[in-house]
């Protein structure tokens, strides 16, 4: 379970060329890429293939496991596939293929950013893009305690299973209230943890503002990357349409 959650976090700790690029540049390039795909209508094969090649280049530079990467991005396919199947049955095969291609390519783009940029760097980049500070702080704390709480819930579930919580002999009402009990205990632990964090913050002089450090300056090669990525994306997007 926690493996499913932790895999991208583990990938993002890598040290490849792509990992070391400035997060702001990667995020900007991703936004241009996503916009280019989203505004494409109707979808044509050469453009999709060209976008696919862009992703492949990024993937190679990032030294991520290719199979795992492609598979990970495929988590969008069940949802997309359902709608694609509906439109294919309705005779709109092209539309169905386009839907799958657009959503899969978009997901791979997001994955490429998330799998090569640690969360703190992503948050710094989002701050640079003027995302509200309060929201970023909430995300920061959410991510900090995500794995800890998920593991805690996993242990609680295990303990409940050991005590036979899944046995069908028990009535539904009984199982419902035991699940609710577990949920409330998890809530209580989370609440107490938040209070502990607040105590630790106050102890270190917190007085209303959470101070953040600033981004390191972007280097020449970061700008070069952003320029190349954006130019290539726009060339693909506009090339066939002019």
């Amino acid at each position: 379970m926690s493996l499913k959650y932790a895999v991208i976090d583990r990938w993002s700790q890598g040290q490849s060329v792509f990992h070391r690029l400035d997060a702001r540049m990667k995020m900007t390039a991703l936004l241009v890429y996503l916009l280019s795909i989203a505004t494409l209508k109707p979808v044509r094969a050469p453009e999709m293939i060209a976008f696919g090649v862009l992703i492949l280049i990024g993937m190679t530079l990032s030294a991520l496991p290719i199979g795992g990467f492609l598979l990970r991005g495929a988590v969008v396919l069940p949802f997309t596939g359902t709608f694609a199947a509906i439109s294919a049955f309705g005779g709109q095969t092209d539309f169905a293929v386009g839907l799958v291609a657009k959503s899969y390519l978009s997901a791979l783009g997001v994955l490429l950013l998330a799998a090569t940029t640690p969360m703190p760097a992503l948050l710094h980049a989002a701050q640079w893009l003027k995302v509200p500070r309060v929201l970023l702080l909430v995300i920061q704390f959410l991510y900090r305690y995500l794995f800890i709480l998920v593991e805690q819930a996993g242990r609680m579930r295990q303990a409940a299973l050991c005590r036979g919580s899944a046995l069908s002999k028990r009535s539904r009402g009984e199982r419902m209230s035991s699940a609710a009990g577990m949920l409330s205990v998890l809530f209580a632990r989370s609440y107490e943890r938040a209070e502990g964090i607040q105590r630790a913050m106050l102890s270190r002089g917190f007085h209303g503002q959470i101070p953040l450090l600033t981004n390191p300056a972007a280097r020449l090669k970061d700008w070069a990357f952003a320029l190349c990525a954006v130019a290539a994306t726009l060339a693909i997007r506009l090339g066939g349409r002019l």
Binding site: M1, Y5, D9, L30, L31, I37, A38, K41, R72, G73, V75, V76, T80, F83, I86, S87, G90, L99, K102, S103, Y104, S106, A107, V110, A114, V134, L135, L137, V138, Q140, F141, L142, Y143, R144, Y145, L146, I148, V150, A153, R172, M176, S177, A180, M182, L183, S184, L186, F187, A188, S190, Y191, A194, E195, I197, Q198, F206, G208, Q209, I210, R241
Partner: protein
């Protein structure tokens, strides 16, 4: 229902973003004013709690089990503005890290789940949560938080021109209602257990016993959702709406002049008309919600 990237037509995700960005900014300001940054750890930890809570299975139906979605529960414990921020944070993490929902589609997903879902989920609780029908109010909140979110998502997909046959759309509505009912049951059970552990964790709703007015408002939310859903598989209806509003004609003229060379290739007139009608629909829904919210707020301040 998390919409991935690649599904929504540009006007739809742009319009949804245009609603959710100021919406979230407003909630951020309110949460900031009411709380201090000292409460931010609590909000973040509660977001992580929602992720963790999804590991707990509730035996809801015949042989099936569901898990907490969380919008209503968060609203009833942290308050709607904080809950909206927490849900937005959850959706962002899901989009970035788990490819659950798209990044450009985040505006739409936030609109559906963090804004509409949370506020629709809080409404019955605010209206009746203090009275004798408290349990029913909590259940309704859970139900709405899921049903309204899912219906809105469906509406956005339809507006984007995803071909969903009317039969499938109606069937989905039934499924949304079922998962809404499950969320309602889970929220009731969870809040009950929470209240027994520490009553101060559950918010107290100040208003009680304004039944008639609340029922109207709740009914309106429901009808708006279902209404849009039923209207949208019928493109004629949408275009008629656009024409009667006088938008389509003028707007396509506006776009025609600078773009007339490419029009055949990517600004297909029918598509644009439909999209603009969709935009108008979203805007109208938004304005209705806003007006209704104002009215409720006025009533609240008088009482």
């Amino acid at each position: 229902m998390h919409i991935p990237d690649g599904f929504l037509a540009t006007p739809v995700w742009a319009a949804a973003g245009a609603v959710s960005v100021p919406g979230v900014a407003y909630c951020a300001r309110r949460a900031h004013a009411v709380l201090e940054e000292g409460r931010i750890p609590l909000m973040g930890v509660m977001g992580a709690f929602v992720f963790a809570a999804q590991m707990i299975n509730f035996p809801v139906g015949v042989g099936t089990s569901g898990h907490l979605v969380g919008g209503a529960l968060l609203a009833m414990t942290l308050g709607p503005a904080s809950a909206c921020l927490v849900m937005t944070a959850i959706l962002t993490v899901q989009a970035l890290l788990f490819q659950d929902g798209g990044v450009l589609a985040l505006g739409a997903n936030v609109l559906n789940m963090a804004l509409a879902g949370v506020f629709a989920g809080y409404l019955p609780f605010q209206l009746w949560g203090g009275g004798s029908r408290r349990k029913l109010a909590i259940w309704l909140g859970g139900f709405f938080s899921v049903f309204v979110s899912a219906s809105l998502a469906m509406t956005e997909l339809l507006l984007s021109g995803i071909p969903i046959p009317t039969g499938v759309a109606l069937l989905s509505l039934v499924l949304f209602a079922i998962s809404g009912a499950m969320e309602g049951a889970i929220t009731v059970a969870a809040l009950d257990a929470l209240g027994r552990l520490n009553p101060s964790w559950v918010r107290t709703s100040q208003t009680a016993g304004k039944g008639g007015y609340g029922a109207l408002w709740v009914g309106a939310v429901l009808l708006a959702c279902v209404g849009i859903l039923i209207a949208s598989p019928l493109p004629d209806g949408l275009e008629k709406l656009a024409e009667s509003l006088g938008i389509a004609g003028r707007a396509s003229n506006l776009f025609k002049s600078p773009l007339s060379d490419y029009e055949a290739s990517f600004v297909s007139a029918a598509w644009l008309r439909k999209a603009l009608a969709g935009l108008a629909g979203l805007l109208a829904t938004y304005l209705v919600c806003l007006a209704a919210g104002r009215m409720i707020a006025k009533r609240g301040s008088k009482a």
